[in-house]
């Protein structure tokens, strides 16, 4: 029976090890480790172009994640993209005239939303909309501007 017991302990350790590894990976290397707030309020914003923005992308203020993109949809009449974001309730004092822009982390990184706080004494509340937004910067448009400006664009080409 002693042999039986050590089998069981060994097998138990194996199972524990497997789940420990899963816990480690889930909390350290996936979005589970990212922003998770228990209590949030919802804000929305309209963009003419959202670029590569995806659901669950982070919403940052001064580089700190304070929320996530909940959903992205197209407004069929106004023909622009409507983005709903969840913001942690503990950051409930965003000035009403704050602006929201789509930025890219690094040259090839993912896109995220950045809030630039305004100066209004009024705060955004649940269901409000950001009135000032800046769409995703499109590489093609950027190059186009350079070309028109004749500002040294495309000189690296081969």
């Amino acid at each position: 029976m002693a042999a039986n017991r050590s089998f069981e302990i060994g097998t138990g350790l194996f199972i524990v090890l497997g789940f420990a590894a899963l816990l480690f990976l889930a909390t350290q290397t996936t979005n589970m480790a990212g922003f998770r707030a228990a209590d949030t309020y919802e804000l929305k914003a309209r963009f003419t172009n959202i670029g590569q923005l995806k659901e669950r992308a982070p919403v940052k203020l001064a580089g700190v994640t304070i929320g996530t993109v909940r959903s992205i949809s197209l407004d069929g009449t106004a023909l622009d993209a409507v983005v709903h974001v969840d913001v942690d309730s503990q950051f409930s004092e965003l000035p009403e005239d704050s602006s929201l822009s789509i930025l890219t982390s690094g040259l090839l990184g993912d896109q995220f939303l950045a809030i630039r706080p305004g100066g209004s004494p009024e705060f955004l509340v649940d269901g409000d909309e950001f009135l000032l937004t800046e769409s995703s910067l499109q590489l093609e448009e950027l190059i186009g501007k350079f070309m028109v400006g004749g500002d040294g664009g495309g000189e690296r080409g081969n």
Binding site: N4, F7, E8, G10, T11, L13, F14, I15, L17, G18, F19, A21, L22, F24, L25, A26, Q28, T29, T30, N31, M32, A33, G34, R56, P58, S105, G106, L107, L108, G109, D110
Partner: protein
């Protein structure tokens, strides 16, 4: 004309074997709930099949991670994107490498052991003896091994991933000087718990069923001679490898 005939008959053989395996799987699944009463048998097999495969999984995982760290660093550094190393390592591991490599290693370590064990029981008439004692060998011999392999491979796959993530950290961060924070945060930013990590674990679960089924089938139907068992063991490795890679393609296509 004869070539065509050969092709047709080998296709028929293949389909027949597929059918035989399917009905073998049905036999296992039918007796599986009943065999759970004897939980000690399953635990024992989980030890032999799972825990005994840990060594090779840990060592291989570590080395695969070390290599990924080196390769991705040198490749990404060429266009200044080494910041994406964590993302790339984690995604390639979770979605592809861990389930597939762990399953291939598992078929070599545990699959062959299952085939050899059951084949030996067949060749020494232990299987027949059980039938004569009115004990269903599928229930007593095959089912516990099948269940243990199915449980073990997902666990081993996760252990493999964890070790590989550490290995890549070792080579990319500790040796090549990638920023530690960048390594971890790039994963957190773009690896999804369900779509990436758990999807890979699900793949491993499917591969576990495949390896267990093939290994048990080959052992159970091995010719009752030493040569027959050796032949069956070889076939377990070959069939498992093909099945793992083929199903990997199908699963990936469905999950994309």
């Amino acid at each position: 004309m004869t070539a065509l005939k050969d092709l047709f008959s080998s296709l028929l053989d293949f389909i027949q074997r597929l059918g035989a395996m399917g009905s073998f799987l049905m036999r296992i699944l039918r007796v599986l709930p009943g065999s759970l009463r004897r939980f000690d048998m399953h635990l024992r097999q989980l030890w032999f099949i799972g825990a005994m495969s840990l060594t090779i999984i840990i060592i291989s995982g570590l080395f695969v991670g070390l290599v990924l760290g080196l390769q991705f660093y040198s490749a990404l550094n060429q266009f200044g994107a080494s910041g994406a190393l964590g993302t790339l390592t984690a995604l390639s591991l979770y979605r592809e490498l861990s389930p597939v490599v762990a399953a291939l290693l598992f078929s070599g370590r545990a699959g062959t052991a299952i085939t050899a064990e059951i084949g030996l029981m067949r060749s020494t008439q232990q299987i027949e003896a059980m039938e004569m004692m009115a004990v269903d060998p599928i229930r007593h011999v095959v089912a516990p091994r099948f269940l243990a392999a199915t449980i073990a491979l997902p666990l081993l796959c996760v252990v493999f991933s964890a070790l590989a993530i550490m290995g890549a950290h070792w080579s990319a961060v500790l040796w090549l000087g990638l920023d530690n924070g960048t390594y971890w945060s790039s994963m957190v930013g773009s690896v999804d718990l369900v779509d990436d990590l758990l999807a890979g674990v699900f793949k491993a679960l499917v591969f576990g069923v495949l390896v267990a089924l093939i290994a048990a089938y080959q052992g159970y139907h091995a010719k009752p001679t030493g040569e027959g068992v050796a032949y069956a063991t070889t076939r377990t490795v070959i069939h498992s490898a093909i099945a793992i890679l083929a199903f990997d393609f199908v699963l990936t296509a469905f999950m994309m």
